[in-house]
């Protein structure tokens, strides 16, 4: 009772949330509820990131993933969710097959996760090794400067000072390309025929002016 490990407690809390909602995503058939479960699951994973001491990644997860991507996804769900398409049943056979394969995969992964004794529990933290502010080092790493590697006592590990500038640039360009591409793809052309409206079929007023 004397040594409640808060890290452990919150880990279990977030882990249960993440796993539970992930299972929820699988078992729900309603696409909107699936999206909600996914949001909750991803949010819990962000909590795990915070627990692991990577606050920046956690915040990015919340902002980009949960805030951005999921809104996008929900948007998509709403645009396409109509009556009969909201839930689509999958055949029992497929379910069984998928469960078997998934179960096998899970077993392998769990076995691997718990197979290394050093991974089971951390060695006591050396006070000096308390996590330094990550955002600045991470930012510098993205700009190609690896200040974190300077600290390494082992000269062998100090090698590979190169950061992620190229990757960063490529991803930036990639993002732009994807945005443009997505905007182009999502367009759908459709010509509206004249619709009978109200009285008389006279030519409509210059509505173009209404769109200024």
């Amino acid at each position: 009772m004397d040594a409640v490990n808060w890290h452990t407690i919150f880990f279990w809390l977030f882990a249960m949330l993440a796993c539970g909602f992930a299972v929820g995503v699988v078992v729900t058939n309603n696409i909107v509820r699936m999206a909600c479960c996914l949001v909750a699951s991803l949010g819990a994973v962000a909590g795990l990131f915070f627990l692991a001491g990577t606050e920046f990644v956690g915040a990015v997860q919340l902002m980009v993933y949960v805030g951005g991507t999921m809104v996008l996804l929900v948007f998509g769900v709403m645009l396409t969710a109509r009556g009969p398409f909201v839930s689509m049943q999958t055949g029992g056979g497929q379910w069984i097959l998928a469960t078997i394969i998934g179960g096998a995969l899970l077993a392998v992964l769990l076995q691997a996760a718990f197979s290394v004794p050093q991974w089971m529990a951390p060695k006591p933290l050396v006070p000096q090794a308390a996590p330094a502010p990550t955002a600045a080092t991470l930012g510098l790493a993205l700009m190609g400067v690896r200040v974190d590697k300077l600290e390494r006592p082992d000269p062998v590990l100090r090698k590979g000072m190169s950061g992620y500038l190229l990757a960063f640039e490529i991803i930036s360009v990639h993002l732009v390309v994807v945005l443009v591409g997505a905007a182009y793809l999502a367009r759908a052309k459709r010509a509206l025929g004249p619709r009978p409206i109200g009285l008389g079929g006279r030519s409509a007023p210059p509505l173009g002016a209404a769109q200024k």
Binding site: V32, L62, M78, L140
Partner: protein, 409 residues
């Protein structure tokens, strides 16, 4: 708090739980209190604008008790869930909104180091979590099973996601000046007289502040950007089918969000707890003199901070009751064609300024006019700043400079 409990030999788990609960309760009080005060303020300010008196009877002449009375009335209302609604999601949605609005307060500092959770990515955390509030609205709108609600939800999604971009760009500006995303550090960086505020740092930050306020109004869904609940178009938007308690919960999310964006504006641009006049340091109410004095100084700072937040809310209310509502395409145009490019330009401008003229306008001015009588705070700041612009022949060797700067923080 926890340390105090530990010192009277309470068990560790109890000490931490109690401390956490107290902080939660305090934050909840702030969130709900800000909602109550904002609602009262909204009624009174709008009444004044409209040549009315507003609430005058509940709780004395000024109608102080109007918000609780409103709440009580709404709690007594019938709780309706439309037949076409998606029950669980419909019930869940308001709480998502409220929880995220409340969660943001975790990282909002009220005075020097008076913050529930001091994160080194505080600004970013706040932006990220406040962006989640839209989820409750989208879900509520979708789950209501009403077309008007769906419209509201769609508008909200489009608007909030878009306005996050310029808002983040604006928020980056103070972060750039301070070199930290820690809100406490950003606030402390502006200590002293009001000309140390970031809004007066240089012309670009001044412009950024107004862009930020525009985006803040838009991201909290206040008029003239209140398209998600536009009552003359969408009946009540995503709130159409909500009634009673759940409706209250949505409002309990909206008003704290207003306080939050004003509070964030105050920390980022308006000095946070550092007043126009540094009362605390003038009265020697600093921890260096006595811990209690520091505590009182912080209390004054908190009052200062809250006053700025309320001022921000008042401005938003003023705006709401003055302007007509924009159309959805105009809202998006404002964001994508004006706010984003302007904010980007301001960011670039601040970068340039930081490089060419480190420190703010007033630092430069002080330096120019009286180099000998620079006060201590400015000296410290100059020490942290990248130093005066170097002569042209040294410009070639400036590459390691930014790194040094960031790294020394």
């Amino acid at each position: 708090m926890a340390e105090f409990l530990l010192s009277i030999s309470a068990p560790a788990w109890l000490a931490y739980s109690v401390a956490a609960l107290i902080q939660c309760a305090l934050l909840l009080a702030v969130a709900l209190g800000s909602a109550a005060i904002s609602i009262w303020l909204e009624r009174k300010v709008s009444a004044r604008i409209q040549d009315r008196l507003g609430p005058t009877r509940v709780g004395g002449r000024f109608g102080w008790l109007q918000p609780p009375a409103d709440g009580l009335k709404l709690l007594c209302k019938e709780d309706i869930i439309p037949a076409a609604a998606d029950g669980p999601l419909f019930r869940l949605a308001p709480y998502i909104s409220f929880c995220t609005a409340f969660c943001v307060f975790l990282a909002l500092p009220f005075a020097n180091n008076w913050v529930a959770l001091r994160l080194n990515v505080g600004v970013f955390f706040i932006l990220a979590v406040s962006g989640l509030e839209v989820f409750g609205v989208i879900l509520g709108g979708y789950a209501s099973g009403s077309k008007w609600s769906l419209y509201g939800a769609m508008r909200e999604a489009a608007q909030v996601v878009s306005y996050e971009v310029p808002m983040a760009l604006c928020v980056v500006v103070p972060v750039l000046i301070v070199g930290s995303m820690d809100l406490v550090e950003i606030g402390n960086h502006q200590a002293g007289w009001f000309w140390h505020w970031h809004v007066f740092h240089d012309p670009f930050t001044f412009a950024t502040f107004w862009i930020y306020m525009t985006c803040a109004v838009a991201s909290t869904n206040r008029a003239p950007f209140d398209l998600a609940e536009a009552e003359s178009e969408l009946v009540a938007g995503f709130l159409t089918e909500y009634s009673g308690f759940r409706w209250v919960v949505f409002f309990m999310a909206e008003y704290p969000a207003m306080f939050l964006v004003s509070g964030l504006a105050s920390v980022l641009f308006l000095g946070g707890w550092n007043g126009p006049i540094p009362i605390a340091s003038l009265l020697h109410l600093t921890p260096a003199v006595h811990p209690l004095a520091g505590w009182i100084g912080n209390l004054l700072g908190m009052c200062n901070f809250i006053a700025k937040g309320v001022l921000g809310i008042t401005c938003m209310i003023w705006l709401r009751w003055t302007l007509p509502r924009l159309r959805i395409d105009q809202v998006m145009t404002t964001c994508l064609k004006y706010c984003v490019p302007l904010a980007s330009a301001m960011l670039a401008g601040v970068m340039l300024w930081m490089y060419l003229l480190p420190g703010g306008v007033w630092t430069q001015a002080e330096q120019l006019w009286s180099p000998s009588t620079v006060n201590a705070a400015t000296a410290v700041r100059r020490e942290q700043a990248p130093g005066p612009p170097r002569p042209a022949e040294k410009q070639a060797h400036h590459e390691p400079e930014p790194m040094d700067v960031v790294w020394t923080r």
